[in-house]
């Protein structure tokens, strides 16, 4: 029969091997696991940097011949002629930025609105009030309806992300363009002097592309912003209500600033997606190499150019396309630096509040 101190010692040794015990100081095994795990995390993080360096190198190496042939004139030329080997991607750079920024604007506006709608639980509240009228709000089945409907709505919006980009392209071609054509041509006829409406919508163009692109990035912004809004500590919300703020004064004054980091993260992801969207834009943006502000005119983006030219590109064209790809990565780079600076300033102001 072991003595009590011995039993305690045995129990402690056994406990030391169990990784889950956190209410005792860590044993050696646990310290060891901790070290390995930390190193593993750092290694994995480094892999991301290695990956992007590797990507940039691969593309860069293939782009070198094009860089030698065309140099910086590539960036401000406007013709793309494989026959005479004159290549310039200024219209594509402009098209990429124009469509992505417009899509980001509309996508964020509607996306954040949807996120606020989801996080405030309007649907659940309304359904609850209706149930109360019928006195069903504690019913075993109907009583759960508000939260089930909220979950359904959340899943429906995330479902937008599941539609393949090819299907969005086809939808745009068959449904969106014929639908908006009469309205756009009317706008062109009435306000043709306004630069935004200066051409007519003869088919694919910037507006259909921006419309579909904003729908594609909306679920990303909504899902991530909703998570950010929901994870604001309930205390803050209650404190604001307690001080007498109305619902929207809380949202605008307390919730949005607190969740701004998360929301901005979602916006960054959405912008990246907009910049790199290939298939849908290749079908909808019209692929015309022209610099234009008109919403109805066809334009071109770097990703669409790559998608259209790559499958048939001969050995002489591939370096040029790789050069264009590098330019796209550089644009993402610059935009992210810009965004980081904006975030620093905004975060400083929000935290000061």
């Amino acid at each position: 029969m072991a003595s009590v101190p011995e039993k305690i010692r045995v129990r402690e040794e056994v406990a030391a091997w169990h990784p889950g015990q956190i209410w005792k100081p860590p044993s050696d095994v646990q310290r060891w696991i901790d070290l390995i795990f930390r190193r593993l995390c750092v290694a994995f993080a480094a892999i991301t940097i290695v990956l992007i360096v590797f990507l940039v190198l691969e593309i860069g190496v293939k782009a070198v011949p094009a860089f030698r042939d065309h140099g910086l004139a590539f960036l401000y030329g406007t013709t793309w002629d494989p026959n005479t080997h004159r290549y310039g991607i200024l219209p594509e750079i402009w098209g990429t930025l124009y469509t992505s920024l417009l899509a980001l604007f509309f996508g964020s506006a509607f996306g954040i609105a949807a996120a606020i709608f989801l996080s405030e639980g309007y649907l659940g509240e309304t359904v609850f009030k209706i149930l109360k009228v019928f006195n069903l709000h504690f019913h075993p089945f109907w009583g759960h309806l508000p939260e089930r409907l909220e979950a359904l709505l959340k899943n429906l919006i995330e479902l937008l992300a599941a539609v393949p980009s090819v299907v969005y392209g086809l939808w745009g071609l068959f449904v969106v363009i014929p639908l908006i054509r009469p309205g756009c041509n009317w706008l062109h006829a009435q306000f043709g002097r306004f630069p935004l409406f200066s051409t007519d919508l003869s088919g694919p163009g910037i507006l259909p592309a921006v419309f579909v692109l904003s729908i594609m990035i909306l679920p990303t912004i909504t899902a991530i912003s909703r998570d950010a809004l929901v994870s604001v500590p309930p205390k803050l919300r209650m404190a604001a209500y307690g001080l007498g703020a109305t619902r929207w004064e809380t949202i605008l004054g307390v919730l949005l600033p607190t969740a701004s980091r998360g929301i901005f993260g979602g916006v960054v992801l959405a912008f990246g997606r907009a910049l790199g969207e290939t298939m849908a834009l290749a079908m909808l943006v019209g692929n015309a190499n022209r610099l234009t502000v008109s919403l109805f005119s066809p334009a071109n983006t770097l990703a669409a150019l790559l998608a259209n030219s790559f499958p048939e590109a001969g050995a002489k064209e591939i370096p040029v396309l790789m050069y264009a790809a590098l330019v796209l990565l550089a644009i993402t780079f610059v935009v992210n630096i810009f965004g980081a600076i904006v975030l620093e300033r905004a975060a400083g102001k929000a935290e000061a509040r």
Partner: protein, 338 residues
Amino acid sequence: MNKKRNTVCLALVIAAVSLVGCSSKGNSTKLQGAGASFPAPLYQKWFKEYSAAHTNIQVDYQSVGSGTGVKSFMDKTVDFAASDAAMKPEDMAKVEGGVQLLPMTAGSIVLAYNLPDVPNLRLSREDYTGIFLGKITKWNDPAIIKANPGAKLPDQPINVIVRADGSGTTFVFTKHLAAISPEFAKNVGVNTQPNWPVGTKSKGNEGITASLLTTPGSIGYIEYGYAHSQNLHIATLENKSGNYVAATTDSAKAALASAEMPPDLIAWVSDPAAPDAYPIVTFTWMILYKKYDKEKLDALKGLVMYGLTDGQKEAEPLGYVPLPDVVVAKDKAAIEAL
């Protein structure tokens, strides 16, 4: 309790997924091809029927574009390729062991248009060259009216639709336009993705078809099969002899018959001279290595022979043109020699 149920569920799913696709093919020879999208429907029909008839052979073909197909072929990641633009000599030289091109089928490129009131549009050579050069911009241009006396041509701008992506179809069409118009050859040139002076761009044959269906007053160049299946109006074109010829199997056959097939089996029919020939017709080639190991060689030989004999009967219903007998004979000789 929940964890156990979850792991059981997961195990069942994995088991189901791995068992559901069990086919009982023995040691099968697999052939993988990639290339042009133009002959893809026909090749897929051939390969599926051939594989069904020969249980130990599986042939697969994926349309990725002539350029990518040739690239994969040169990288040796596929067993054979297909291209509308044949293969350039410098690319052929890069493949060790040599390549063998075999024209397997042919097809016509048509000018489809969207003018509900004009069911039979006739376009002279100057007309359609002018349209694609941007010189003729309205449907009621005097040149078009001259070719279509009595037709109700509207006073609308011509909405030209061209390809946004690089394509063998464009290559063949520009080759024809360059052959009949020195101005086109100089200003635009022959290319899979030329700098068109006019036109809105759509991606793929299906994109141009969709644009034609939804844009009034439009005209574009697509393969015959697409225009036929969507019941688009097709323009009758003037050929080299001055006759207006519609795009039918017979007119295309007449065009192909005039082709002189050189020993390397690469021939272009950019401007056929026969009186009843349709002007825009092209062969499309299958590209093979000159050396294969025995199994694959036997499978490929059987496949190609099938395509050249029974397969030719399936060309017409799908919108392609059966090969002239001369070409079939030369192909057979070439494949036997491998």
